[in-house]
Amino acid sequence: MIPQPGTPQPVLEVRNLVKHFPVRGRGLARRRAGEVHAVCDVSFDLYPQETLGLVGESGCGKTTTARVLLNLQPATAGHVHYQGTELTQLSSKAMRRLRRELQIVFQDPYAALDPRLPVNEIIAEPLRIHGLYSPSGREDVRELLRLVGLTPEHGNRFPHEFSGGQRQRIGIARALALRPKVLVLDEPVSALDVSIQAGVLNLLADLQARLGLSYLFVSHDLSVVRHIADRVAVMYLGRIVEVATADELFSAPAHPYTQALISAIPLPDPRKERARERIILTGDVANPANPPSGCRFRTRCPLFAAHLTDAQRHRCAEEVPPLITHHHPTACHYTELSTLPALSGLSVATGDDLPRCARAMRGRERG
């Protein structure tokens, strides 16, 4: 499923997408006080039948990217091509027709379902809106319930009668009602307990294989993304910093942020977890209303802090590192200086005189 050169055209092409939100001042006039740069120059492709993971921490712009590309919020600039149609300029009427093919599943299965409608009606609603609720509509709804692992008898109940995992299945059934080609999944399992989450993840994998769907899987949970995604795009403060296949990203992350992110995820395995060398980032994510110049990660970058010359740092501060579109795009000027050992080959770092991140890096150079 991982696209090779010369394989099909992408279903969705996102180019230089930008979304700024105005920040208004206090007082009656509510004058514009600035702008939050939520999404900044984001480009990626989504291929047929693949799962692209879009990961990052809270506030990095991953959900906004998902919403803007579905035209749920207007883009400030940039383009989204869906099979030859430019979405950003479409009228809402024209967009509505395309919504059959581009659907979304939301994070919170409690808020996403109308509490006053029985499940049958929730799932039938998109069919009715698009004039597709035929005489066989009832049977279509029953089939959708079966498809997501519920039974047709569930259709007469109301959302509050279901557990979180079941509600998320209802949300998925509704998204599938119009037989979409692309499904945007915005943190679809984040609200679920782990024993329930596993069932929904398996269901998503089955549905993709059966229906040939493309998924844009937005999540902050890298373990889940590792599990479900073919390729992964990592966002930091509105920009994509790295794109790679899941195998490459997790075994050889190239960007210092991706390396720190992966090293911070705890493994549910005591021996491995305790043997790991961790890159602990200092500080917090910068304010998106006033992002750092040049590379937005430099204020927390262990490479910038400990391993670059002044001239190199100057470049980080002045020049935005481009996401070069080769086979493993990475937005870092000095990515060659920054290679983390693969998860399996944990570095044995010593030398207590060095700060932690430096120790990790030294271990890397040796290993």
Partner: protein, 342 residues
């Protein structure tokens, strides 16, 4: 439990019941454990398993509608039923708590330095100046940059991670014997979580406190805990060292949790979910509460709730613990479930 070490805190047969309009909710149903000096005891469980209610009940922090019974002893002194005045001397002094949401545990109208100093002055007769100086040192210990300037900041001026550091500094203030951390990193991003786990380590090492670490995150437990309690439907269903729990679980629920967890160090493979959902605390099934979801369930499981038993400190509440020896999650929880009958 026969694990070595001196018990600091002993909890015996703790029960918590809420009376609601819909009936009795049995949130905690007979939880017993001991916390030894210097150890980290992890409590892991999914939402509604009773792990947070257990910690709140221990500290006498539940609302009046809760009926709490059993025993919680700190160095032999009973805390359950103690007067509010007596408990005030214990809270923050001998037992400190760290909650999930640092915004709600800090007071928004006071600077953070004042709040740390307040915690010191609540239990020690020291001058304002001395307490303020100590506050700076504590904030420094949890790696708040420029603590001497930051003491004047209000909570809203800090990020979530910084706020949680302040809460940890307050917890450290009186060198408590026990630190209860209830989902201390759940509201935080993963890179910040790593920082906070580091700060918690520091707090524990500097104060020599024993720690009760409550979380739903198996990864955090794997990295931090010495011993682990697994909770389900208000009971401890398995207890053991972290190695026993992760490498030789004796309760199907524990095995199921491990099999459901997607892992960063494994390529994509099929997960092995537990079918069904946890029971409602309003309406628990008779017998073993896990039986309706358990692939091993037999008539005896529905008839009789298994006690928490075992040898050498590794305890489990299952009639068929012996059958789990050497099993992998995939052996028990078949990926072929309702989900895959497509």
């Amino acid at each position: 439990m026969t694990s070595p070490g001196t018990p600091v805190l002993e909890v015996a047969d703790l029960r918590v019941e809420f009376r609601t309009d819909e009936g009795r909710v049995q949130a905690v149903r007979g939880v017993s454990f001991q916390l030894n000096r210097g150890e980290v005891l992890g409590i892991v469980g999914e939402s509604g398993s009773g792990k947070s209610v257990t910690s709140l009940a221990m500290m006498g922090l539940l609302a009046g509608s809760a009926r709490v019974s059993g025993s919680v002893r700190l160095h032999g002194t009973e805390l359950l039923g103690a007067s509010d005045k007596a408990l005030s001397r214990v809270r923050g002094q001998s037992i400190a708590m760290i909650f999930q949401d640092p915004m709600t545990s800090l007071n928004p109208v006071y600077p953070i330095g004042y709040q740390v100093a307040e915690a010191i002055r609540a239990h020690h007769d020291v001058s304002r100046d001395a307490a303020a100086k100590q506050a700076v040192q504590l904030l420094d210990a949890v790696s708040i940059p420029n603590p001497a300037q930051r003491v004047d900041n209000y909570p809203h001026e800090l990020s979530g991670g910084m706020r949680q550091r302040v809460v940890i500094a307050i917890a450290m203030a009186n060198s408590p014997e026990v630190i209860i951390a209830d989902e201390p990193t759940t509201a935080l991003d993963v890179t910040v979580q790593a920082q906070i786990l580091d700060a918690l380590r520091t707090a524990k090492d500097q104060t020599g406190a024993a720690m009760l670490l409550i979380t739903h995150d198996l990864g955090v437990i794997a990295g931090q805990a010495d011993r682990v309690l697994v909770m389900y439907a208000g009971r401890v269903v398995e207890a053991g060292t972290v190695e026993e729990i992760f490498y030789a679980p004796r309760m199907p629920y524990t095995l199921g949790l491990l099999g459901s967890q997607p892992r960063l160090d494994m390529r994509r493979q099929r997960l092995h979910p537990i079918s069904g959902a946890p029971p409602s605390a309003l309406n628990l099934p008779s017998g073993c509460p896990f039986a309706p979801r358990c692939p091993l369930a037999a008539p005896v499981c529905e008839a009789e709730e298994p006690p928490l038993t075992g040898a050498g400190g590794h305890l489990s509440a299952c009639h068929f613990s012996d059958q789990l020896v050497g099993l992998e999650p995939a052996d028990l929880f078949r990926p072929v479930s309702q989900d895959t009958t497509l």
